[in-house]
Amino acid sequence: MDLSQYAELFLAESREHLSTINRLLLEWERDPQASEPVAGIFRAMHTIKGMAATMGYAKVADLAHRTENLLDLLRRGERTASDEVLELLFKSADSLDQAIEASVAGRESQVDVGAVLQAVDDAASSVEKLVGRGKRARPSAPAVAAPAGAGRVVQVTLVPESPLKGARALIILQQMETLGRVHAVEPTPAAMEAEEFDGRFAFRLETEAADEAVAQAIRGGGDVERVEVASTDAVEPAVEAVGRQARHIRVDLRRLDALMNLIGELLTTRAALADISVRRADPELEEVSAKFSQLAGDLQSEIIQARMTPVWQVFDRFPRLVRDLSRKLGKQVAFRVQGKDIELDRAILDEIGDSLVHLLRNSVGHGIESPKERKAAGKPPEGVVELSAVRERAAVAIRVRDDGRGIDRAKILARAQQLGLVDADAESLSDEVLLRLLSQSGMSTAEEVSDVSGRGVGVDAVVHATRALGGGVEVHTAAGEGTTFTLRLPTTLAIVRALIARVGEERYALPITHVAETLDLGAAHVTRADERDAMTLREGVVPLVYLRRMLEIAGDAPPRSPVIVLQIGERRSGLVVDQLLGQQEIVVKAFTPPRGMLPIFSGATILGEGRPVLILDAGGFV
């Protein structure tokens, strides 16, 4: 059976369900008396089981099945969650996660869930002993109320193993329509289609047909366990309907990326068309061009909207991370999340996940003190770590705040002076300088390197990743009061106009934001000072950067190389390339450069012909 087409969907859905399971487990841990979490965990587990069985991932299905079994016992037994059981369920969720990822990657044979399975089964049998088997029996009478109205009441129970019970019920109801008039169906069609529908439904049937004929027709619909036809008028409360959710479809993110790239090209074409229509001075052409321009703009904003994703899709995995980490380190941490519904472009959201992991690990690992230390400092033993998203005009600010000990400025200053990064006589550090220092490799002051917060390269990676997305990072820290990191991010992927330049065989894009002008190197007056070339441009001197040399491309630049003059504020720089290939609208994609790469790239894009191109960061040259 070719199931590969479902593999990605399976993976995406399973991840969502696992995230739900983790969230509900945490809820349950906070309130072991609550009964809602276990029901939700059960449903998510059940769904994973069904999907995995269809995919043929036996180990995933088996683990989900047996965990579901344990959950079912807990649910029916109305047992409160013990620490051991919760720990086991967390473990099972982790194993499930690993097994799912491995199975989808074709490495199911390397998965070993034996130990977890055994533990889950042991827990199930000990719970079962306490609860007793009697509780598990399926209620034999149809529990759906008899609907009011004219006609005979028909109550149907489907066999428990019947798949897609809602669809089965619909087939039976459609067959009933051939016998007479069907009305007052309970539950509602929407509720029947819901996951929770247990296969019991009832309706009123006005028909000439005999009871026996009705029952037989219903059995002919398939998967029927039990039918009751009666002309009772007893009215009981209706079954609560389950609301229908908003209509959504799943779209592969690569489709949306491809659409974004096409929009970039469309906008480039739009500009070309506008140029032509202005040159031709043809009113008809101008009208079409204007209309085209407007439609392309509308299309762009629609697609940008379609890519917006609420931050909870990433945030939801953090409560578990913070919990595990604080337990491991023996710290008490209350983790709060705010602004979960704020939306960001999916691609941006995907990129910031790792940054947030770094920051949260730092907060729990270095920021929050041990309960003892906190008490000694007059603070409550439980520390607070807060992750929040707030809209700020066109940007979104994501903050990771802790009420821990704060970053030790004196220590950072000493280390920076030792490394010669700061004047030896500097006495203090502003937040801004502090961040700059923190984002340099080798600046870690952590006393020991741990697997908790790495080697002090975290902040470096966070700053780089955020800048690559067109955002910025701020830090505020106060001794004894805590630290706040703020990531300010654009909400949508940027489409910018860029100059496309060629150097050697490669092409590079340079956003025109910082391009002041372009000119011909042959026509410029080049001087040499301090081993550096510079050219005289009108009143000033502009240092030259030969991209060919910088990128270590062999061979000489053509004699009449173009120079791109970059300007940021008062500073200017002339970038020498081999050839200019024109301007184009490009979709800026975040990009984490491999270590050791020149710090002159801010991202990447894909040009019309599918060619990936690096985006040059003007800040790297000026």
């Binding site: 269809t54 809602g166 619909l170 087939i171």
Partner: protein, 120 residues
């Protein structure tokens, strides 16, 4: 005379599997289609007693194919082949005129039960 069947699924593996189950039970598989468009064309051409229809297929999906086939022949008997978790689509297919469904992974006995219900 045995009943004739048209098997529609974009996966060769699935078509082979369904054909095998049906042939072994004495049905005559008269044609196969790998897309909704092909299913509609072949239905018109072969007039089979039964169609097994996958839901997710390239070009025209199974549900649209059901609509087209039922429009041309309201007495068409179509059995949907669904994966788990496609309940909403199965419901849509039934509303479009499909008579019954089976859920993957297939158990031959359940496929044959459904076929008998539809042809019954």
């Amino acid at each position: 005379m045995s009943h004739t069947v048209l098997v529609c699924d974009d996966a060769i593996f699935m078509r082979t599997m369904i054909s095998d189950i049906l042939t072994q039970a004495g049905y005559e598989v008269v044609g196969e289609a790998e897309s909704g468009t092909q299913a509609v064309e072949k239905y018109a051409q072969l007039k089979p007693d039964l169609v097994t229809m996958d839901i997710v297929m390239p070009d025209m999906g199974g549900i649209d194919a059901v609509r087209e086939i039922v429009k041309a022949d309201p007495s068409a008997r179509i059995l949907m082949c669904s994966a788990m978790g496609q309940q909403a689509l199965v419901v849509e297919a039934i509303q479009a005129g499909a008579k019954d469904f089976v859920v993957k992974p297939f158990q031959p006995s359940r496929v044959l039960e459904a076929v008998q219900r539809v042809l019954g």
